[in-house]
Symmetry: C2
Subunit: 240 residues, 2 copies
């Protein structure tokens, strides 16, 4: 049986103007190759509704999977979700499950979930959410299209949740914990924990908020009980 095929669509004026260097194609290409999926084409288009819709329709029609990167943030030029919905003929609106994730995240951060941020809860009907362990705003899978963030740390986390489901591997479960200490403070105990749970993967994503450093720690694995156990130890260690 030939390998399944995939395409990538990178969305963003900042790549085509030369302001930002594209940073996700190389990672996705490597991960797909490891997973036995052939990446056959990649395209970069600007924040232009017609260009995005046309590319989504063409590439999702020509390949088994399409992965998109970029354009799902809170600003007016973040139009990827709406374009994907139109390309696949689905209605789109603020969805309760996405809204709940954002609300919980911004409550924890003590930040207002304003009109602009609400935009990130716009999810097409019938789509499955993709977890965002860094900044909560979810990606989504609609039909054969996986819509993911452009920020490399988030893109990579999203690819890690999506890929096992495509290749017949066991679904990857993930839980995250926000720890109000810098990465340097938690690195030692975290490494010990990772040693004792070699079947799980541990990721740490630093953030800075009001001048204080903190870390979002993500624990991933296929065995839910093991992920729960590691999370319980983590919470006990860092007392949150």
């Amino acid at each position: 049986m030939p390998n399944p095929t995939a395409a990538m669509l990178v969305i963003g004026d900042e790549i085509l103007s030369g302001r930002t260097r594209e940073g996700n194609m190389h990672y996705l290409a490597g991960e797909l190759t490891k997973a036995g999926i052939d990446l056959r084409e990649a395209r970069v288009v600007p924040d232009d509704a017609d260009a995005i819709e046309r590319a989504v329709r063409t590439l999702s029609g020509a390949h088994d999977w399409l992965f998109t990167s970029g354009g799902i943030g809170p600003t007016h030029d973040d139009i990827t979700a709406d374009c994907v919905a139109r390309a696949l003929g689905r209605p789109i609106d603020v969805r309760e499950d996405a809204l709940a994730r954002l609300q919980a995240h911004y409550d924890r951060m003590g930040t207002e979930l304003n009109e602009a941020r609400l935009r990130m809860a716009r999810i097409p009907e019938g789509a499955t959410l993709i977890d965002n362990p860094v900044s909560a705003a979810p990606g989504f899978t609609l039909e054969n299209v996986h819509v993911m963030a452009g920020v490399p740390a988030i893109f990579e986390a999203m690819v890690a949740s999506v890929l096992p489901q495509l290749t017949g591997g066991a679904p990857l479960l993930s839980q995250s914990l926000r720890i109000e200490r810098g990465e340097g403070d938690i690195a030692g105990p975290l490494a010990d924990l990772a040693d004792r749970y070699p079947d799980l993967s541990f990721g740490s994503y630093p953030y800075q908020k009001d001048g204080a450093f903190g870390s979002n720690v993500v624990v991933r694995g296929t065995d839910g009980a093991r992920v729960e156990a590691a999370m319980a130890e983590l919470a006990a260690m860092f007392g949150t």
Copy 2:
């Protein structure tokens, strides 16, 4: 008047498999932006004749300029020149002017211009050669398509020769000198020379051959007499 538009086509299995990180898009995007040309789309396709031809036809038809990167070397999977010729309906064969450049280069290097390397002299009828100051094998411009090497140092040198001609600037003249000394030995005198010719640009491209280091120095400018004068000084300094 709106800016002219451009597209980029990156050709190479090694990018889509994740073996090599794409390295030319960011550079081209920045140079086009500085030159007032809008890069509207970029695509990456594998070393597949149908995929390359289709992309060349689509992108050259939709934009004022198309820039390609990759697939013009000596191996069997370097099929860009033949695909561009077919896409634009031109015959292609080994061309005398391209052959002469390769012959001179390999004679200087004491290397045989074998059957495989002859492949790099295949140029479509009616195309204009693009100078390759590093390894001689030329790129070419056919209609609105600029076909360039994938190796970043060569790609960048080719963009530097092509761009001024597209934007109505004076054509950039270039001459190069092969110097059998390492870059560290020539850097000082070269910097002095560059100071005295602020209207010219000086590039140095290192090479290694049979364990010895050498440098190809490229002098570029719009005033032919100035380029000649700088080249004469350079030759006197390094006695070749």
